[in-house]
């Protein structure tokens, strides 16, 4: 009996302390809900800060996975949380807040607005695959976030751009155009980290596109 009431008292105390904390932190929630997000609050940080952080994210992830695919999946996951936020935020800052639901418009939005928001420039190209109708490629010749990374030969199939493909995958899903998104290093002359983000849209998306096209 005694221990039970003790436990109850403890639980009550815990609840009280949580409430007290809640009062303290509600100031913070208020502040966050009141801040102006129509423009970025701050402009830049050092690329060095990002590069060191990203390197550490890769090292951390590497220690927790068995193979290259898992490593890419982990980076993809980390990128997705960035993508959802960056997308809704970039759209909010557009002149006309709107929705993109069509494959091509979504791709163009990613290629231009999102890329500018993330990397200060448009992606270098957006192409449709010549082999498969449901595949599109966004190419960045020199992704700033990968600038200093040299993938060792024994891991040559690893693409650190999996982080970027995670961002893109999340945005495609937000736009109701879910796709499998992968990243591939395709070096070109003087561009060792040229990265191709490959989107393969789900069948439902392509079917819907056809329906909407026919309905026009």
């Amino acid at each position: 009996m005694a221990s039970q009431s003790q436990a109850q008292a403890q639980a009550q105390m815990h609840a009280q302390s949580l409430m007290k904390l809640d009062n303290k932190t509600s100031k913070r929630s208020n502040m966050l809900l009141e801040q102006n997000v129509s423009r970025p609050r701050r402009d830049r940080v050092g690329l060095g800060a990002f590069a060191f952080l990203f390197a550490e994210i890769i090292r951390y992830s590497q220690n927790r996975v068995l193979g290259i695919q898992d490593l890419e999946a982990k980076l993809n996951e980390i990128g997705q949380r960035v993508g959802v936020r960056m997308f809704e935020l970039s759209m909010w800052r557009e002149k006309t807040v709107h929705r993109e639901m069509r494959v091509l418009q979504t791709l163009v939005f990613i290629n231009t607005v999102v890329w500018r928001a993330l990397f200060d420039k448009q992606a270098d190209s957006l192409e449709r695959s010549t082999e498969n109708d449901d595949e599109y490629m966004i190419t960045d010749n020199e992704p700033a976030v990968l600038k200093y990374i040299s993938v060792p030969k024994e891991m040559s199939s690893f693409s650190p751009g999996a982080f970027i493909s995670g961002i893109v995958e999340a945005i495609a899903r937000c736009c109701q155009c879910p796709a499998r998104v992968t990243s591939h290093v395709v070096p070109a002359d003087g561009l060792p980290l040229r990265t191709v983000i490959l989107l393969k849209f789900d069948k439902e998306v392509m079917d819907r596109e056809k329906r909407l096209e026919a309905g026009k």
């Binding site: 966050l32 809900l33 959802v84 809704e88 929705r99 736009c175 109701q176």
Partner: protein
């Protein structure tokens, strides 16, 4: 002014992320409100491909109720049950609620499509309702 509103935010998997009754509280109405909103989601799905606008205006009617909808770029549906028509006021209310949702989403600890539990959010929504709807 005795108008009553029911406002809900619905996630991409059709689960409610937030709901509140604004104005006169009517106990028995909660489930009916949820039902009306849920039924209107299909109509939102149909309407949303007709334009790229977020605000879809009134998408459904049920007895005396109008159902207005606003869809955010990442397909989170803001739904409002209301009696009187007031397109512009509702647009402004929705737009500001969208901004509140956006700021909630920016928090790294908020997982998309999960219920919004912040008290501050609740207070702000009620303030917006007072500002635009009453």
């Amino acid at each position: 002014m005795s108008s009553t509103y029911y406002f809900a935010i619905v996630g991409t998997n059709d689960s409610p992320l937030y709901e509140t009754e604004l104005g006169v509280q009517r106990d028995e109405s909660k489930y009916l409100n949820q039902f009306i909103v849920h039924a209107a989601l299909d109509l939102v799905d149909d309407a949303q491909f007709m334009s790229t606008a977020c605000y879809l205006k009134t998408v459904d009617r049920y007895n005396d109720w109008n159902v207005s909808a606003y869809v955010t770029p990442s397909n989170i549906r803001l739904m409002l049950l209301h009696e009187a028509k007031a397109d512009d006021a509702i647009r402004l209310f929705f737009t500001d609620c969208h901004e509140l949702y956006l700021k909630t989403l920016l928090n790294p600890f908020y997982e998309p499509n999960t219920p919004i539990q912040s008290q501050a959010f609740d207070v702000k929504v009620n303030t917006l309702a007072k500002k635009y709807l009453f």
